[in-house]
Amino acid sequence: MARMTMIEAVRSAMDVSMERDDNVVVFGEDVGYFGGVFRCTQGLQAKYGKTRCFDTPISESGIVGTAIGMAAYGLKPCVEIQFADYMYPAYDQITQEAARIRYRSNGDFTCPIVLRMPTGGGIFGGQTHSQSPEALFTHVCGLKVVVPSNPYDAKGLLIASIEDPDPVMFLEPKRLYNGPFDGHHDRPVIPWSKHDLGEVPEGHYTIPIGKAEVRRRGSAVTVVAYGTMVHVALAAAEETGIDAEVIDLRSLLPLDLDTIVKSVEKTGRCVVVHEATLTSGFGGEVAALVQEHCFYHLEAPVVRVAGWDTPYPHAQEWDYFPGPARVGRALVEVMEA
């Protein structure tokens, strides 16, 4: 076992995949020569050459469209969209082509691409460098959406995504790249090297897409979270002393409804947490499913804690970010309800 940051884990996943399968190619803006702005692809061009790891122009629509064509003829492109906020020029290709080509061609052609993209705030990126667009992907039929919360999962899930026969949107919470950030922005984040989930096997392994993980066992209330919010929720549970069960979804589509339902049947209460804006966010979907499947077990309304319905502000970042205090308040509220 090695100790890895999430950046190293992601890199290792691509490395292992490229090693095993010649069809895997890695590209994106500043990805080849420079090694990626977050260094996720550092060394891959040196190791695999410029035909397998390369730079693209700043042309998101073209990049993704090209990847889809490559995939239709059997390649396995693993593309980096430098920040999730830059994916919009490619959104047309993602929704109309990537998500539909299997359906449209009656299974003749498929789209085994992975779009890796750093998401979320916490780095003073403001409105164009902090977004969490996962709900824009979950609303499209024909995409898988994965959001890891730690290095171990990141590697296993990314390899699984690359090997997956369908398009996977792989959202990497950038605030987690170097450590399990729990929303306490005024404290240094502990590095992954000091965290159990920073232990990552060097070789090949996969984590199945569609299986959630319970990060904290509890009996009072179920917290459904993913990405950065998993760590925020864990902090909120500790700080409020409320015996919360914290579920890390790991993938939003497919969704591990079983794990959620089992937990809520036990606790009778549910809080859904995400950093993306509230309205029409993925939390609404989870809340609807919970009331549909657990109605007779619920002892309180399902509560959502999310980013405010505003663009991500530059100043006031921590007023926007749903940190442990806000999640903690929600926990207290559902317990009192």
Binding site: E29, D30, G32, Y33, F34, V37, D55, T56, P57, I58, S59, E60, S61, G62, D85, Y86, Y88, P89, I123, F124, G125, G126, Q127, T128, H129, W308, D309, T310, P311, P313, H314, A315, Q316, D319, Y320
Partner: protein, 348 residues
């Protein structure tokens, strides 16, 4: 075709390029004393402002993204000198210089960088997102290439209103590869819109050199298939920029449609404050600084012609430093926006 007058950064042009007309045949008028002094002061303001922003960033007063314009000052200062009241300016995220050149207040820009309520976007926008209706500055856009279409729309609005204003849409060599740039080119020429596309070719898009990402590295030729005239300009020489801008503005005001100016320029600092710029050699940067610095060129001229003494130049420097210091003080003392601002200006 007359040779260029100044030592020019265009020496990097490859010999294999298709022949084309140099802007102004490569010649341009000398600046008057007043023009040189103005250009000196304005470029120096941008330089000192950016240096201060870099310091404040290092001290933790500015967070997030901060893209400095140091090295490229001649482009905006030369362009702005050719514009008149009502002409619009729009650019990407490397925008501090553009705003200062438009006459927006140093305090307002600096306080935006530090995220304070006196910032031009009340602290909510940050370095990449500022605007001024009064100065006809339409942003400040963090998404690469997006401003190019908007600038085209501004030109459409000018045409629609029947005024003779032009819009200037600035973007980088990297942005020039976004598809919407070409969609815009087509519409601008189709509808003969008065827009000047200024491509600031500083040789790098983040960590990627132009040649790694562009099939056609002569950006002045990017409008060829739309019949948009394009010219390469020594973007380190403010006189060359001004001369090119004058002709481009005249072209647009005369109703001849869009025009492309490729500014051959260079950024001295990393892409943003977090970029150590390891993808290029120190020598390369040093060579540009020592041989082509836009401010040093003007300074040398002013001294050589006896238009300003060392002391007078020092005085200008002092005045500029005072403006910058004042903006920095303001930007640190001004309070952050009130929490009630969180929900303002989303919808009416």
């Amino acid at each position: 075709m007359a040779p260029r007058k100044s030592a020019s950064v265009s020496s990097r042009k490859s010999a294999a390029k298709p022949a084309k007309k140099d802007f102004n045949g490569g010649t341009f008028a000398e600046f008057s004393k007043e023009e040189d002094l103005n250009a000196y002061r304005e470029m120096l303001l941008i330089r000192r402002f950016e240096e201060k922003a870099g310091q404040l960033y290092g001290m933790g007063f500015i967070g997030g993204f901060c893209h400095l314009y140091i090295g490229q000052e001649a482009v905006v200062v030369g362009m702005q000198a050719a514009l008149k009241e009502g002409d619009q300016v729009i650019t990407g995220y490397r925008d501090h210089g553009h705003m200062l050149a438009c006459g927006m207040s140093a305090r307002g820009v600096m306080a935006e960088l530090t995220g304070r309520r006196g910032g031009l976007s009340k602290g909510k926008g940050g370095s990449m997102h500022m605007f001024s209706k009064e100065k006809h500055f339409y942003g400040g856009h963090g998404i690469v290439g997006a401003q190019v279409s908007l600038g085209t729309g501004l030109a459409f609005a000018n045409r629609y209103r029947g005024n003779d204003n032009v819009s200037v849409a600035y973007f980088g060599d990297g942005a020039a590869n976004q598809g919407q740039v070409y969609e815009s080119f087509n519409m601008a020429q189709l509808w003969k819109l008065p827009v000047i596309y200024v491509i600031e070719n500083n040789r790098y898009a983040m960590g990627t050199a132009v040649s790694r990402a562009s099939a056609q590295t002569d950006f002045s030729q990017r409008g060829v298939s739309f019949n948009i005239p394009g010219f390469q300009v020594d973007g380190m020489d403010v006189r060359a920029v001004k001369a090119a801008a004058d002709e481009a503005v005249a072209h647009c005001r005369a109703g001849k449609g869009p025009i492309i100016l490729e500014m051959l320029t260079y950024r001295y600092r990393g892409h943003s404050m977090s970029d150590p710029a390891k993808y290029r050699s120190k020598d390369e940067v040093q060579k540009m600084r020592s041989e082509h610095d836009p401010i040093e060129q003007v300074k040398a001229r002013l001294m050589e012609k006896g238009w300003a003494s060392e002391d007078e130049l020092k005085q200008i420097d002092k005045e500029v430093r005072d403006i910058v210091a004042d903006s920095a003080d303001f930007a640190q003392a001004d309070p952050e926006p009130d929490a009630s601002e969180l929900y303002t200006d989303i919808l009416l």
